[in-house]
């Protein structure tokens, strides 16, 4: 039988080290809502979401109470809206109408975010894809809970540079459309390469077309738990360090697995995957940067950071894979600058630059996430940043993403406040040399060769 020490260890993780289940995300297929009339589509979409997800929040709360583990977010992901609205939406306004319907449905069922205002354009854009992409700035400014993601490339198809160029413009335009709220729209917009179909985390979640009608995906988290465990290994060698991370990751993931199974059983929806990502929050102690410090770096960004992050995430996966029957989603380290106090400190101390963050994405980080950049950064430069990140993903056969926020009216050294889970961020300098000629060439970057690895 379970003993008092084990019980105390678990409860200490929950109460003092911020162990939580970050999100239960219900993926809902909207393929059966497709129609040629936009009003019919909106009506069907609203009904399907509010029926399928009506018990999601209540069930989440029930599980929280019975196991005493916080489930921070209950969310929904849907079939990419460009597919759902493809035959009905004749102009950008029609897509915005769909976005408003999604927002209304999200509010009705009480979820805090709904992801899937998306288009998958890794090789080419259909007319509908392009309309959706062009509608993003308005859609994100008139809705509150809708999140958008665009997949602009993959290892198999190469990079769609037309889409990369367009997304640079859309990120900039979204910032302008939402400048009253510190450009919050950009915090709900992600540009991916190799986007996974079953990611439960926002803003990049969508319900891929390879998925079943409905599915439960769960994201666990517990950077604080890993950090506390590592504090006891100070001065020990890498073997001890890695073992400790692995064991801790196992324990954290087991909780996620339990919650996922319970949610799946109670909602009558099959269990999809557990996403083994370490996701920080602005809360003190809930920080991936603090883990890097516990590993032995003065600040993230110091030489050694990429290696430390690589080992950290590999051990998290090794521990987590054994704890769960199905692992998927992003399963990488999230290093969103604004959502991690340790990262903010590192930027303020001058230790961390965008270039170093980019290098970290080569090994396991999911991307340039929640980085505030000067408002006068050009759309071409943002496209260049997206192209660089996407190229890393394409060549390394991994998911990479860009979620940058050009803060209109603010420059380097100023601070932007998003509030809540999104936190606040110091504005980071961007290399200002031009890449216009490069991003304006048009066309595609061909898929990479998969042999002769180096």
């Amino acid at each position: 039988m379970i003993n008092i020490f084990e019980v105390n260890e678990t409860n200490k993780m929950i109460e003092q080290e911020n162990l939580d289940v970050r999100t239960i995300t219900l993926g809902i297929s909207l393929l059966d809502c497709i129609d040629s009339d936009i009003d019919v589509v909106c009506d069907k979409v609203y009904k399907k979401i509010t029926t399928q997800a009506k018990d999601l929040v209540a069930t989440g709360k029930e599980i929280e109470k019975e196991y005493g583990i916080p489930i921070v977010n209950k969310r929904i992901s849907i079939t990419p809206a460009a597919i759902v609205g493809g035959s009905a939406c004749k102009n950008e306004g029609d897509f915005v109408k769909l976005a408003v319907t999604l927002d209304k449905a999200a509010k009705e069922v009480g979820v805090n975010f709904l992801g899937g205002y998306s288009a998958l354009v890794s090789k080419g854009m259909t007319k509908a894809d392009e309309l959706l992409i062009r509608s993003i700035p308005e859609a994100l400014s008139v809705t509150e809970r809708v999140c958008s993601s665009i997949n602009v490339g993959s290892t198999k198809t190469g990079l769609n540079m037309d889409a990369v160029k367009l997304m640079g413009e859309m990120v900039k335009k979204t910032a302008e459309f939402t400048k009253e709220t510190d450009c919050l729209g950009c915090a709900k917009l992600v540009v991916f390469c190799n986007a996974p179909d079953d990611n439960p985390f926002m803003a990049g979640a969508f319900h891929g077309v390879t998925e079943s009608d409905a599915i439960i995906n769960v994201g666990v988290s517990g950077p604080g738990v890993v950090k506390t465990a590592l504090e006891k290994t100070k001065g020990e060698n890498f073997e001890v360090l890695c073992e400790t991370i692995k064991k801790t990751a196992f324990k954290i993931t087991r909780v996620g697995q339990l919650v996922a199974q319970e949610a799946s059983k109670r909602l009558g929806v099959p269990f999809g995957i557990i996403d083994l990502s370490l996701a920080p929050t602005p809360a003190i102690g809930d920080s991936v940067a603090d883990i890097l410090k516990a590993i032995g770096l003065e600040h993230p960004g110091a030489p050694g950071t990429t290696a430390a992050l690589a080992l950290l995430n590999d051990q998290v996966k090794k521990g987590g894979v054994m704890a769960s029957s199905y692992v998927g989603g992003l399963s990488g380290a999230f290093i969103p600058v604004s959502e991690d106090q340790g990262m903010i400190d590192a930027v303020n101390a001058g230790a961390l630059t965008i270039e170093k963050l980019e290098a970290m994405t080569c090994v396991c980080s999911v991307g340039l996430d929640m980085i505030a950049i000067p408002g006068d950064t050009s759309a071409d430069t943002i496209s260049g940043i997206i192209a660089d990140e996407a190229a890393i993903g394409m060549i390394n056969q991994k998911t990479t993403a860009v979620r940058v926020i050009p803060v209109i009216g603010k420059g380097v050294g100023e601070v932007v406040e998003f509030g809540g889970l999104l936190g606040y961020a110091p504005i980071m300098p961007v290399n200002t040399f031009s890449c216009s000629e490069f991003v304006n060439r048009g066309g595609r970057i061909p898929a990479p060769i998969h042999s002769f690895k180096n």
């Binding site: 039988m1 379970i2 084990e6």
Partner: protein
């Protein structure tokens, strides 16, 4: 059988176990095991109970026990045993 774990943590005082046990008896919850330690005046108790025949719903018992804890000046948590089993047993 589904088991429930009750933990009581807080400053030691007279009658903590008595009050918790009385509440459980009143609500038809059967105590299977108790372990308890006191470290530096800090009371730390874990109970394994069977709440399957309880006269109230799990959520209600949980809320009332939390309230009882506030009354005594200790923290009481009621959790299903599975969370500990999944974390500590392969």
């Amino acid at each position: 059988m589904k088991k429930t774990i009750i933990t009581v943590v807080g400053k030691d005082t007279v009658g903590i176990i008595a009050k918790v046990c009385t509440y459980l008896a009143d609500n038809n919850v059967n105590i299977l095991d108790i372990s308890q330690t006191i470290v530096q005046d800090y009371f730390n108790m874990m109970m394994v109970v069977d709440a399957n025949q309880a006269s109230k719903k799990f959520g209600e018992i949980s809320d009332e026990m939390t309230a009882l804890g506030d009354e005594i000046g200790v923290q009481i948590k009621v959790q299903q045993e599975e969370i500990f089993n999944s974390m500590h047993r392969i």
